[in-house]
Structure formats: C-alpha cells, structure tokens
Amino acid sequence: MAFDGLVPALARAPARDKALLGSLLAAALAALAFGVVAGAWVALTRAGAAAPAPENGYRLLTSHGTAAFFFWLYFAQGALLLALAMAHGRERPALALRPLAWLGGALMLAGFAATQAATWIGTPLLYDAEPDLAAENRASALLFYAGYLGLALGLAGVALSAIATAVAGKRERGGAPWSAVTFGAVAWAGLILVSAVAVVNAFLPAALWAAGAGPLPADHSTGWHILFHNLQYLPLMGTVLVWYALVRDFTGGGSVFGERFSKIVFALYLVFVPPTSLYHMFLEPGLAPLVRALGSVLSLFVGVPTIAAFLVIVISLEARARAAGRRGAFGWLRALPWGQPAADALLIAVLSLALGGTFSFVLIQEKLAGLLSDTFFVPAYFHFLTVGTVSLTLLGGIAHIVPSLTGRAPPLRRLLRALPYAIGAALLVFAFAGVAGGLAGLPRRVLDAGYDGLAPAAWRAVSAALGIGGAAMAAGVLAYALALLAGLARFGAAAAPAPAREAAPDAAAIRHSAWSAPASVAVLMLAIYAATAFAFDLMRALPVQASGSGH
C-alpha cells in the first residue's frame, strides 16, 4: 500500500502503540506547561513584579531549564520520532521493541520527577548542574544527576525502538531503500543515542562523586559543552524533519529532488555535528590560536544542513503547487493548508529561525563569544530557537497527529491558529529587550539586576519589557499546551477524514518551475548576513560590559 499520509497511517496503528504515543505526548505537554510557568515567574522576578526568596528564584530557573529544555523537548521528540518511524517506516504501522519504548518512557518520567524533586528539596543546581554548587547537599545532587541519567537511558530505549521499527519495515519491504523520512528518523534516533552517551559522559562522574564513589569531576564544564552542542543540533534536526514530513503530508508528495537527495541532506546534519563543536571551546583559556581560528571558520558551517533542508522543502512545495496550477510569484504559499493549526505554527517557526540564526551567527564568532556569553543576549536570542522554532514546530506537529491518536481534532482550533502569532509577537518583545539588555551588559542568571539602585537605568526598562514579553509568551504557550492536552483527553469534535490526495505529478518534470521560493531563501540569507555584519558594527560601537563563560 502506498504511503497515504501521517494521519491516516498512524490511525491504523495498534491501540497500545497509540497509547504509548499519547502518554509520551501528555508527559511532554505537562513538562512544557510546568516549565513555562516557571520561566514566566523568573521573567516577572527580573522585572520586579514577583519576589520569590532567592533560593526559590533559582529553583524556578532550574525547573524552567530542566523541564522546558530537557524534558519537554525530549518527551516530544521521542513521541514524534516513534510516530514517524512507525508511519513512514512500515506498511502496517506498529512499533518494534515496544516494551523497550514503554520502559524508556517510564525512565524519562522518573527522571523528570527526580530532577524536580531534587531541585525543590535540595540546592538548585541550574540545568548544567556544576558539582561545585552541590558540595553541601550531595544527596539531593545525586537524585538530580540520577534524573538526568534516567532521561538518557530512557531516550536510548525510545530511540532503539524507533530504529528497530524502521529496520523491521525495511525487512518487510524486501530490503528496499527507506523513504527519506524513515532514513531521517533513523539518523535522528542515532543522534539521540549519541546524545544519551554525552549525558552519561557529562553527568556520570558527577553522580559518582555525589554518591561518594568518585572524586569531584575536574572538567565538568567540558563534558557539558559537548552535550550542549549535541542538544543544539538534535532538536533542530528533529524540527527540520518534522517540517519535511508535514509539508509532505500537506502537498501529498515528497521532495522534487528525489528521496536520495533528501537522505544526503539529513546525513549532512550528522556530518557537521562533531567538527562544529569546536566553537564551544572558545572560552577555554588554553586553546591554541590555530584551533580558535579553525573553530571560527567551522562555526560558519553550522547552518548549512538546515539551509539545505529548508531549500529542498520550499522548492518542492513551490514546484508541486505550480504543477497543481497555482499562479503568481507567491501563489504557492496558498497551497499550504492554512485552516490547520500546524501551518501557522510552521510559519512562525521559520521566521523565528531566521531571527535566531542571525543572532547566533553574531554569538559564535570568537571575538564576541567571550564578551556576550554571560549577558542576557544569550537567553534572549536562543528563545527564538527554543520557543519560536523548535517548540512551535513540535506543538504544530503534535496538533497534526492528535486526531490520528484519538479520532478527534483538538478543541479551540481558531485559538490554536491564532496563538503562534501571539506567541511570536511576545517573543519579539522578550528577545529584543533581552538582546538590547545583553548589549548593555545586563547579566543572565541574576534574579534582581537592580543592584540596590546602582544598575544602569536602561537595565530597568529592558527588565520590565522582559517581564511583560515573557509573561505573554508563557501564557500563549501554556494555552497551546492545555488545548492539546484536552485534545489528547478526547475533548473536541470528531476529526474529519484526511482529504484525498491527487496523484503527485512527476517530480523531476516539475522541478524547474520553482523560482520564487529559492529566490526568497537567497534574499533571506543575504539579509541574515547583512544583519550579522550590521550587528558587528553596532557592537564595536557599544560598551559591552560583561564577560565570562558558559551557556
């Protein structure tokens, strides 16, 4: 049977597999809801509108970093990975190694509970959990590290189940090559396995030390930087794969460059991960100058796989829309199903990536990394990526597949369609305030940056904007998560059957007709480079006051 779309394929999956996906998604959305409430509280504290005791303020920041950046992202990625592997990988969608996937989910849940309990009963360690901070409360630190190790083991279980599912599908199809999405899912699962190793590399020595079974790790920050590098690539790779899979569903056909070319693009992610890791070492004092220079050059390649994948997606979208009769320079954009919440989420995700990408180019340059890395510039720009790009994509992807799990469309469709724009607007306020604050030296990870009235006046203004933007952004994300949770609990109207697709026209024959999509991407890229150059000039003119290290 030919692939007829993610939603119909998943709808045919066995009930127990749907139950697993539903459970992982519910855990993801609960972690997100918890995480953004904590994030808003921190933002309001910085603005002076909330005043938790200092220790609790850092607990909120730790809960935010762990719940949002770790558990939300990995529960959601785990679920979507399994969904793609099962729906694209097999004729009759079903999970292989199902008990391992359940065990993985349970371990992740235990990990979530452990990190949060440790944070609220012991010393708040922040999400990078330097052992130095934990000297006085090793028992709770052990619980925290065990939580991260549980996450790693659990993720590995889920990833192995996804890979086994794709392998089973290949066997069933007589060894025929995987589809591009299936290959992408396997590559993504492979990177998840490597990230699990990186978690163990970073946190096992700390756990042993906390258990009294090893020395205080001397180089925790190096292990953390390597892990953090993976954790930047991994969700981005997942995001792009979700875009690819959703646009494939929207248009009824895959890439017009053929499946093999898309596989090469997905493999590029893996090829670029290790070499680009050098730029995280910029702040290490003993780094040889040649390595520093090499790191700077390599850092420019960070965006290559994402840009390549994005080009494949938009050119395919335009070519297919033109072949289906869409006219006008941007008529192809109307081929996207604008009535569905996922399309709006994807649009804001792409725009956020352009903005986040611009700022990250500024930050990864060797000369600026040291100047800006301890300022609010860093959290400000990366929320474009974590909230705007990755979280909105995952939320859109979840909105897309919920009907296949429950037979019902999530409720409040109009609200779900509007929320990405509201979240995007709030994000602009939060992030631009934070970038401006960062350039004026506003430190990150400080709950009260007033310094008894001695702080620059500008800091107060940007902190207020941060509070307003942050609270609005959190309210939007929370509403989205709650609506999807209600959808998983089977609230909402019965889902309409997926629209029948016309047979996709021959891919190679229609490729040449796409021009405005690649031209727009080229203009966008030029704009990003111009903005980067402008930012450099601006930065030279500004007194940047803070310096330091770490992410």
Partner: protein, 58 residues
C-alpha cells in the same frame, strides 16, 4: 551497497576520523570530545551493521 547502509557507514567513518583527531593531535587534545564522538562512531557503525544484516536475513 544499499544506500541507507552506505550513508550510515559514511557517518561512522567521518566520526571515527574526528574522534581520532581529537584524541591524537596534540594541539586539539580533547579527551572528552574524543570519547563522545568515538562512542558516536561506534553507534553509527552498529546501526550500519544492523541494517545490513537485516537485509541479508530477509
């Protein structure tokens, strides 16, 4: 060779080379990076072997 196996094997080769460079080139000398990318190389090698064997066993 099957294109999926070839792509996974290519990733293995690149990661193994980089892990070796991080471990052996004195100027780079990053044992943590060598460990993680080396383990990653092993993951992709295992994946390539898993996929290749499943094709032969059909």
């Amino acid at each position: 060779m099957d294109e999926d196996v070839a792509a996974l094997a290519l990733v293995f080769a690149i990661w193994a080379l980089l892990a070796a460079a991080y471990a052996l080139v004195p100027m780079l000398s990053m044992p943590d990076a060598a460990r993680v990318w080396g383990a990653g190389a092993a993951v992709f090698l295992a994946l390539a072997v898993w996929v290749a064997r499943s094709r032969r066993r059909r």
